[in-house]
């Protein structure tokens, strides 16, 4: 565990992290994960975080050394897409039994499991994940991996991020450390070129990176490695020969980007493919970094031409939604707005942002939010489920954009909801992705079910005066039973 503790200290002290730089020495040492409250905690563990970062590498066998729950309850649960190999979706676990734990057979079972995988699937690499129980019983997965790698002649990579080490975010970073220690730089590519880049922290959810890659192809830029989305092991192993890198999801893999810059002189910038202006900015930054590293400067002009052309198309497509979405109120509940350019695009077509959480936002972010929101009070750290439910029940927003965790708060409050986190079904990256996001918002808000579910049952409606007969829609009721029934029937058969 000592080497693990050292690793954890190391990733907590991240010099490239804005939040970390703002802290004093003591606070920095305590790390960035907050202590959890038993009985009031949410979120995954370090193993979860490590698996999220690495599993999209498609041709690797991911072997979880654990009793059943860690893998058995969680496998095949993410929407990353592969353009080829499917091995990453096959689940492997040592499924330790009581006997294995009591008799200390864990290491032997792990070694045999690696052999079985090698013999049956012949993958280029096996990633072995340690977990709480195997860390607790002291299984030395590093030694087993080393021995197995020698014996079977394939890469066997220990991923030392047991759940009890900390949060999901910590696990993301420990996974990056494992790649740095054991994978990146182990293979020399024979065709490295001046237009090679890495894209770090892009998961290719719903295949959305495929909305962006053609843009890069058009510019003659080659993605040496996209880590981890749709990656092959060899891409990752030879990623150290890229000329520049873009860091997409900064909180997850910032240590990977910084250390690759230090070790292999690969400059990086933090960017996003969400939203029109951010996508353009990302393309610009990539081109500029490549030129700095020796690529021909003519790529800058070509990039500007492509941007101008694509932006014009995207804005034109978005304009079509203005009529339908103008004045609609959006509640963003994402733990922190990661892409301002999405907010920008929504506002550009006339939508209002009526509230946002600022749990993970920096001071600078908060200033921006203040300028956007009409009422500063709608900025919240974290809203309790019950309060959120009340707010949505009163129809103070026309749609909530959030992750799956709060999905049912919106739905039970009969409010349109769109998933913008990792479980989502639609690709939102790039220019077309932004149009898709707006299209999905439009579809969600204007679905005909909302009127139906919000209307109380006929027998629950408050009897009211004759005047209300015409306005059955607003839920207040009508004169007498016969008229009501006749009206509803006529409405159903005649007016639709």
């Amino acid at each position: 565990m000592t080497s693990l503790s050292a690793k954890i200290q190391d990733v907590f002290d991240e010099p490239a992290c804005d939040n970390n730089r703002g802290k004093d020495a003591k606070a920095r040492k305590q790390g960035c994960s907050k202590p959890l409250t038993p009985g009031a905690a949410a979120g995954g563990c370090a193993f979860d975080g490590a698996k999220i970062v690495l599993q999209p590498i498609t041709d690797v066998a991911h072997l979880v050394h654990a009793p059943l729950a860690c893998e058995g309850n969680s496998w095949d649960n993410r929407g990353a897409a592969s353009s080829g190999p499917t091995l990453w979706r096959t689940s492997f676990t040592t499924d330790l039994t009581e006997l294995d734990v009591v008799m200390g057979q864990g290491e032997r079972k792990l070694f045999r499991a690696i052999r079985e995988i090698k013999e049956t699937y012949a993958p280029p690499a096996v990633f072995v994940y340690s977990t709480c129980v195997t860390a607790l019983i002291g299984d030395d997965i590093e030694a087993v991996c080393k021995r197995a790698a020698e014996k079977f002649g394939l890469a066997v990579v220990p991923i030392n991020a047991p759940g009890l080490a900390g949060s999901k975010n910590l696990g993301n970073k420990l996974a990056a450390e494992a790649l740095l220690d054991h994978v990146i730089g182990t293979v020399e590519p024979d065709e490295a070129g001046p237009y090679d880049i890495n894209v770090l922290g892009e998961f290719n959810l719903s295949g959305e990176f495929w909305l962006v890659k053609p843009l890069l192809d058009r510019l003659g830029i080659r993605v040496r490695a996209c880590i981890p989305g749709d990656a092959r092991y060899i891409d990752v192993a030879s990623a150290h020969r890229a000329r520049a890198a873009m860091l997409v999801c900064s909180s997850a893999l910032i240590n990977l980007a910084r250390k690759m810059e230090e070790r292999w002189d690969i400059p990086f910038f933090e960017g996003s493919f969400y939203g029109i202006t951010d996508t353009s900015e990302a393309l610009r930054n990539i081109a500029e970094l490549l030129v700095k590293k020796g690529a021909d400067a003519e790529i800058l002009d070509r990039t500007e031409t492509l941007i101008a052309e694509q932006e014009a198309i995207a804005w034109k497509k978005l304009e079509a939604y203005r009529r339908r979405l103008q004045g609609k109120r959006v509640l963003l509940n994402t733990g922190g707005v990661k892409s301002w350019s999405v907010v920008h695009a929504l506002m550009e077509i006339g939508m209002e942002i009526v509230g946002t959480s600022v749990k993970k936002s920096t001071v600078e972010d908060k200033e921006r939010i203040k300028r956007i929101l009409k009422d500063e009070n709608h900025m919240f750290e974290q809203m309790a489920a019950r309060d959120l439910y009340v707010m949505l029940s009163k129809h103070q927003a026309d749609i909530m954009l959030s992750g799956g965790r709060t999905q049912f708060i919106a739905l039970k409050a009969k409010t349109p909801w769109l998933d913008i986190n990792q479980e989502r079904q639609h690709p939102y990256a790039g220019y077309d992705g932004m149009v898709e996001l707006v299209r999905q918002i439009d579809l969600a808000i204007h679905n005909p079910i909302w009127d139906q579910v919000r209307e109380p049952a006929p027998w629950d409606r408050q009897p009211a005066g004759e005047d209300d007969l015409a306005s059955t829609k607003n839920g207040t009721a009508t004169v007498n039973a016969f008229n009501e029934f006749a009206g509803a029937t006529a409405h159903r058969f005649g007016n639709r």
Binding site: P35, L36, T37, P38, G39, A40, A41, A42, G43, G44, C45, F47, D48, A66, P67, L68, A69, C70, E71, G72, N73, S74, W75, D76, N77, T90, S91, F92, T93, T94, D95, T97, E98, D100, V101, K109, L110, R112, A113, I114, R115, E116, C132, V133, L136, I137, G163, L164, A165, G166, A385, R386, Y389, G404, Q407, F408, I409, K412, K414, V453
Partner: protein, 460 residues
């Protein structure tokens, strides 16, 4: 007799099992005002939670003691205490159902005395909230064991013991975890139609049936009430569905003397006939006309459906009782069980599965043995095998995350059996291959009669 094949592989490939604590939490979710609590790491809880949500498409109450590195080394009693008190303050549950995990069980924590201490120390604060414990390490058992342990724990911890005055019309029903929401609803209607008063524990039909309440509730809403659990001892008879529920029924019998009858499955004409006869005998009432009508519908379904079933090879992977339920259903329809895979070897029911062998294993084993079968029967994770083998998948059990409405599918009693026949026959019809000259060519098609694949001549 069926051969039980133990696991010999070291790497489980595509797990069939969900974990034992998940099974326990599932049972606690069938109690009104319940808050299941995992004593373990936050990952243990979050994985189970996500899986429940994917299956039920509902907000699921499930909390964690959030064991970290320090607690794992020093012991988790403080975390357990803090979690229970926090839950009591924040959500005011009627029941906190604690399930242990591999993490605390590997440490060897004495959670029972930890909980006894918490209850003693905070008796006043915890008034109105029952706290029960199921010891459910992930390295043993699977959903069935967890579910049964949680039910036994609730009976032990809550049901008033001693011989009580029996209410002649009151029937305690302990359903296995393979019954859906629709099954439990239908079961209640059936029992009530004999003038009996069923108390069902756990009752997922009240809590996991997917409704829209008019306020935000952080615990379960609906399900068996704690008061009903307390008064289980006044039932005239206990009926158990599924072999894994024998243990909780024995516990109830030991505490209160309520006699029990075990039905290993309520699917299939004969099994349902026995059940209906029992209800008639206990109630002294004649079988209602509606039930007779349902029986006749099933008879007709058997007649219409059997054309599609005869000689078909079925590969099933499911928890032991569900494996038995479905394997007997299929063999009763004239199918053969080409492969039977299950999660654990602890259940006695495996001896009765109508197959040559039952492999303790995973979906990798199912895939390896299912080539040539006409139908795969497994939970949603079977989808990859189905795709690779080109064999249709019938989704059963838990988790089903890529189809809506699995909880509202009926699988028991006359109507459920009828529906199953139609579902399966429709899968066969949807996947029927059109005849081709090649497939029918007498010189190309020299299969021996006992070979695996069904004859391509079988068309309807």
């Amino acid at each position: 007799m069926v051969r039980i094949l133990r696991k010999i592989k070291s790497a489980a490939v595509n797990p069939l099992k969900s974990s034992q604590p998940l099974g326990a939490a599932f049972a606690f979710l069938g109690v009104e005002g319940a808050m299941p609590l995992f004593h373990g790491g936050q990952g243990c809880t979050s994985f189970a939670l996500v899986l429940f949500v994917r299956h039920f498409k509902e907000a699921i109450p499930l909390q964690t003691t959030a064991m970290d590195e320090v607690a794992t080394i020093l012991g988790g009693a403080d975390h357990l205490e803090e979690a229970i008190l926090n839950l009591k303050t924040r959500t005011k549950p009627k029941l906190i159902g604690v399930s242990t995990t591999a993490l605390v069980e590997t440490r060897g924590e004495d959670c029972a005395s930890d909980i006894a201490n918490v209850k003693l120390k905070h008796a006043e604060e915890l008034a109105g909230t029952e706290v029960v414990l199921a010891n459910t390490p992930d390295f043993g058992g699977a959903i069935e064991e967890g579910w049964a342990k949680a039910v036994a724990a609730m009976i032990e911890g809550i049901t008033r013991s001693g011989a009580r005055t029996r209410q002649p019309k009151k029937i305690a029903i302990l359903p296995g975890c393979n019954l859906t929401v629709a099954d439990v609803e239908h079961l209640r209607d059936m029992v009530e139609s004999f003038g009996l008063k069923p108390v069902i524990l756990p009752d997922v039909s009240g809590s996991l049936d997917g409704t829209v309440p008019d306020r935000w509730v952080t615990t379960t809403y609906g399900g068996t009430s704690v008061e009903e659990i307390r008064e289980l001892g006044t039932a005239a008879q206990c009926i158990v569905i599924g072999e894994h529920m024998r243990h909780p029924a024995k516990t109830l019998h030991g505490l209160t003397g309520v006699p029990y009858a075990v039905f290993q499955s309520l699917t299939g004409l004969r099994a349902v006939d026995r059940f209906v006869s029992l209800l008639s005998a206990v109630s002294g009432a004649a079988v209602p006309a509606r039930v007779r009508r349902h029986r006749a519908q099933l008879q007709d379904a058997l007649l219409d459906g059997h054309f599609h079933f005869g000689g078909k090879k079925i590969a099933i992977a499911a928890e032991p009782d569900q494996l038995y339920q479905l394997a007997t259903f299929f063999t009763d329809m004239g199918c053969d069980i080409a492969a039977a895979v299950t999660t654990t070897d602890m259940s006695k029911i495996l001896q009765k599965v109508p197959a040559e062998w039952v492999q303790i294993g995973d979906l990798g084993d199912l895939e390896a043995h299912a080539a040539g079968a006409d139908l795969l029967v497994a939970h949603s994770h079977g989808r990859q095998a189905s795709q690779r083998l080109g064999i249709p998948l019938m989704r059963v059990g838990f988790p089903i995350f890529d189809r809506l409405g699995s909880q509202h599918k009926l699988t028991i009693l006359y109507r459920g059996t009828r529906d199953l026949i139609f579902d399966v026959a429709n899968i066969f019809q949807a996947n029927q291959r059109a005849p081709t000259p090649e497939a029918l060519d007498p010189f190309r098609n020299r299969e021996m009669p006992d070979e695996l694949r069904s004859s391509p001549l079988t068309r309807h």
